[in-house]
Amino acid sequence: MKSAVLVFPGTNRETDIAGAIERSAGIKPHMVWHGDSDLPKVDLIVVAGGFSYGDYLRCGAMAAHSPIMREVKARAEKGVPVLAVCNGFQIAAEIGLVPGVLMRNAHLQFVCSDVNLKVESSQSLFTHRYQAGQVIRVPVAHAEGNYFADDDTLKRLEDRGQVAFRYCDSTGDVTAGNPNGSIRNIAGVFNDTKTVLGMMPHPENATEALFGGTDGKPLFDALAAALV
């Protein structure tokens, strides 16, 4: 699996996700600086977490207008898979790669903690190594992860199985365990072809037993298996 991890000024989890990809795919991703003129031809594009452009204006808003994101959008529209995590999710939502928006956490604080996630769909490039309904434990670390979409969008997402993950408690109850106020406990969503996944939690920080557990690793294993 050839992959590219985008690096904007202020991106700070690119090394974490590059490590997770390498552990699953056995090959290092290209680290692509936002100002570099061309995006290499890859099987997977990753928009990593961090504080691109210092979160100025609005999280993800500045990066969304960078030339490289136009190229990412064009590739995504041609079907190249995109994994957008945390600030990457914010950028992807800004540019319309996935539906919805990310607002300030309901409690107005940054939150770094392990959370429980219910895998809503195992029918995707990203989640086929999980069982639908499985509860996994991965961390979140964000101040603006409060997912919101209007009722029509939510209905469409749910009808089409585009909700990837929901926050839940350890028993899988998706009315509990919400760390940020996200509507219907939504933690991650697909685009309508399920080739783009945007999610707030950090599966890349749950890929080694001693460093946060391994519940995030199947996501990278799934991509590595699907995108050979």
Partner: protein, 748 residues
């Protein structure tokens, strides 16, 4: 004769005459001003006076503390760089070095908690990456006033948000720390931030300028008017109008610092840099003097070339601004364009502002005119140094545990303690810090020490902690100093690491008072003794004096930031007893020392007696034994005993692991039950030992002459002390986790 001697510097338009009042406003005593006149041989200009004011401030010159700091041991075979550079450097093996330091931002944090704390984190990060290290962990030690004080809640909220806001954006995990409350900090909170970074041991960058004619380069943010005279503010007591000093608090931008970090590390991959120094306290003044002085050279700076954020700034403001996220570098000749390309890629300012000279003078020009010309060596070597008078605090008479009442109900007392402001869970705080980024955090906040894997380090890890028990330091400074070092060493040991070195952050009141100076002296002497015996040298540090408001000083608070190493990160243990059947072994001797204990203070309402004595030989013997057992894989969990003694330690182990613990107090305990459970005797640990090896561990302890007592075992759902108390782990957790969120929930 060179031109600067023939032509004294020009005065700026509207420059006032130097009056005694102006001298006083610059924090210089009349004697110190006489010294300025002698060095200059004439009346200084305002710019020059500002430079002396900053360089000779307590904050920059260590004039009251220097004579005492010299007593601290700073060397060991593994120390690469001790105090005197931006941060300390130790060899951690595999060609790697750990670079670390702790620094205070107390005064600014009290005035403007978010920015004060944020820029404290920014400053210490710069100190570490200036030396070529990539920061891998942040730590912070916080002291606030009485929770009931009207300002405390506001300070807690602002400081925590500020630390998180900066560290999170930088992408450096905040992995450890401590937070406590006491009325002595009502008007002076303490915010001490520590950063640990990793560099190649053969590529460490220093501040000493070299190479006549080499370009001096300014990089980072533009200079604004913020923080002017910050160092001078941090060197004075607070008065009622301190709120009006808000403009002297700097404003941070962690996004720019992230860019600065990446740009500096990228340039450091080349060999273009000769010397580099961050602009911290006293900004351009202290960075330029330090570089030139350490290199034995002179410096000529064209101040008009400094990138400015505002129009109309003058040389005085430029030299004294403490705008954040700035660095000064000396480059090899001809490498300017290469460096400029890197900084422009990261969208940062880059300006060649001067050249190194052989005059040993600092010559500052403003559009060609010389506005200051100061001989560099005397500013540094003839800076005032005071041997301030001091009086020792006598050791309070011993308290007999038998004269201290037991609690009415042991379970109630333990619940009260685990839910108290000082002992309660601080998760509300560290959940706001990204403690997982970089993916190397093996032991998270909330235990004895954090453990962070070293990137590209062959599986080795660093253990990191910060410790101090101010009430011990107040009662008897020498014992308190000894205990602070011993506790840091013990916390590193309790996770299985070998302690290597520490950094100190000395927070005290007004050193011009003999009893305060005596606290400083006593703590330093105690620390020196402990660092020597434990082979745990001080490699960097910071002094914050004048933590007083209207004559009331803080508790003496010498915070120790300790760093240890372990070869194999998979061998580390935390405090959580996660499984049933583990054998609980108490290491160390329990005499039931209740003087200055948490039990005495929080249950009996008394703050008296002597602090527990610290026998450093015993400390080392017990700790070396515990570490050997952890490294041998015999131990599933381990916790050192400190505030609240055995009872609190067991409760914390049970809560962290979610498993009950049952112990019986030995019949030959030799002290009353409450003293056995809550006494704060030093040099002790509880190890949860794997059952198959329990007998062997006890036998090795006996062979090593280490006191070891089999207390009980893990299992069930309650913490039980047979015949004394039984509390479900769920109840303990509920109480432990309740106080801080509830406290912060109230809108003041």
């Amino acid at each position: 004769m060179t031109t600067w001697e023939q032509n004294p510097p020009v005065k700026l338009p509207n420059e006032p005459a130097i009056t005694p009042q102006i001298v006083a406003e610059h924090g210089l005593s009349p004697d110190e001003y006489q010294r300025v006149l002698k060095i200059m041989g004439r009346e200084p200009t305002m710019v020059e006076l500002g430079v002396f004011s900053a360089m000779w401030s307590e904050h920059c010159s260590y004039k009251s503390s220097k004579v005492w700091l010299k007593k601290l041991p700073t060397e060991a075979p593994w120390v690469i760089q001790g105090p005197g550079e931006n941060a300390g450097v130790i060899d951690i093996g595999d060609g790697q070095a750990a670079i670390f330091k702790m620094e205070s931002h107390n005064h600014p944090s009290y005035i403007e908690p978010y920015q004060g704390a944020a820029t404290g984190v920014g400053g210490i990060l710069r100190d570490v990456f200036t030396m070529g290290a990539r920061p891998i962990a942040n730590v912070n030690a916080l002291r606030f006033g009485d929770p009931e004080h009207p300002k405390t809640r506001h300070l807690v909220g602002g400081v925590v948000a500020g630390i998180g806001g900066y560290g999170n954006c930088m992408g450096i995990p905040t992995v450890a720390g401590e937070t406590s409350f006491h009325r002595a900090y009502n008007e002076n909170c303490l915010v001490n931030a520590m950063t640990v970074g990793i560099a190649r041991a053969d590529r460490i960058f220093y501040a000493a300028a070299a190479g006549l004619g080499n370009p001096v380069v300014y990089v980072g943010s533009k200079t604004g008017r913020d923080g002017i005279h910050g160092a001078t503010m941090a060197s004075a007591e607070f008065t009622e109008d301190s709120e009006s000093k808000r403009p002297t608090v700097q404003v941070g931008d962690p996004f720019v610092e992230k860019l600065l970090l990446e740009a500096c590390l990228e340039l450091m991959e080349t060999d273009a840099i000769v010397a580099i120094q961050d602009m911290g306290a006293a900004g351009l003044t202290s960075s330029s003097f330090e570089m030139a002085d350490k290199g034995g050279l002179g410096l000529e700076i064209a101040l008009d070339k400094v990138p400015m954020r505002e129009t109309g700034m003058n040389p005085y403001e430029l030299m004294l601004s403490e705008s954040q996220e700035r660095m000064l570098m000396v480059l090899k000749p001809g490498r300017e364009d290469e460096a400029r390309r890197i900084f422009e890629k990261w969208e940062l300012d880059f300006a060649v502002i001067g050249r190194l000279t052989d005059t040993r003078r600092m010559v500052l020009r403003w559009y060609g005119d010389v506005v200051a010309s100061i001989p560099i060596p005397p500013v540094v070597t003839e800076a005032p140094v005071y041997e301030r008078p001091w009086t020792a605090t006598p050791l309070p008479p011993a308290l007999d545990a038998a004269t201290i009442a037991p609690p009415k109900d042991y379970a109630d007392a333990l619940l009260q303690l685990v839910g108290s402001p000082d002992q309660c869970s601080k998760a509300w705080i560290w959940r706001q810090y990204d403690h997982l980024i970089m993916g190397n955090t093996a032991i998270r906040p909330g235990g004895d020490a954090a453990v962070v894997r070293v990137p590209d380090g062959n599986g080795k890890a660093l253990a990191i902690t910060s410790d101090c028990t101010p009430r011990y330091c107040q009662a008897h400074p020498e014992t308190g100093g000894r205990q602070a070092v011993a506790e840091a060493w013990r916390n590193l040991t309790a996770v299985g690491a070998t302690p290597l070195a520490c950094t100190d952050n000395m927070n005290f009141g007004n050193p011009q008072k003999p009893e305060i100076m005596g606290q400083f002296a006593g703590c330093t002497m105690g620390m020196a003794e402990a660092c020597t015996t434990l082979a745990f040298p001080i490699v960097s540090g910071n002094v914050s004096l004048y933590n007083e408001t209207q004559g009331r000083g803080i508790l003496p608070t010498p915070v120790i930031g300790g760093v240890g190493v372990m070869k194999d990160v998979t061998r580390c243990v935390d405090i959580a007893t996660r499984e049933a059947g583990l054998v609980l072994v108490l290491i160390g001797e329990t005499r039931g020392h209740l003087g200055q204990s948490i039990y005495l203070r929080d249950i009996q309402g008394r703050e008296d007696g002597p602090p527990p004595p610290v026998d450093l030989t015993v400390e080392k013997r017990n700790g070396d034994f515990v570490r050997s057992q952890i490294q041998a894989g015999h131990v599933a969990a381990c916790h050192d005993l400190s505030d609240g003694g055995l009872a609190i330690a067991l409760a914390e182990m049970a809560m962290a692991g979610g498993t009950g613990l049952t112990i019986a107090i030995p019949e030959d305990a030799g002290c009353p039950v409450h003293a056995y459970l809550f006494g704060e005797d030093q040099g002790r640990y509880v190890m949860a030992v794997r059952p198959a090896v329990a007998d062997a561990v006890l036998a090795s302890a006996a062979a090593a002459k280490v006191p070891a007592t089999r207390l009980g075992s893990s299992g069930g759902a309650a913490l039980t002390v047979e015949g004394v108390l039984a509390i479900s782990v769920a109840d303990l957790r509920r109480t432990h986790e309740a106080w801080l969120p509830a406290y912060m929930e109230v809108r003041s």
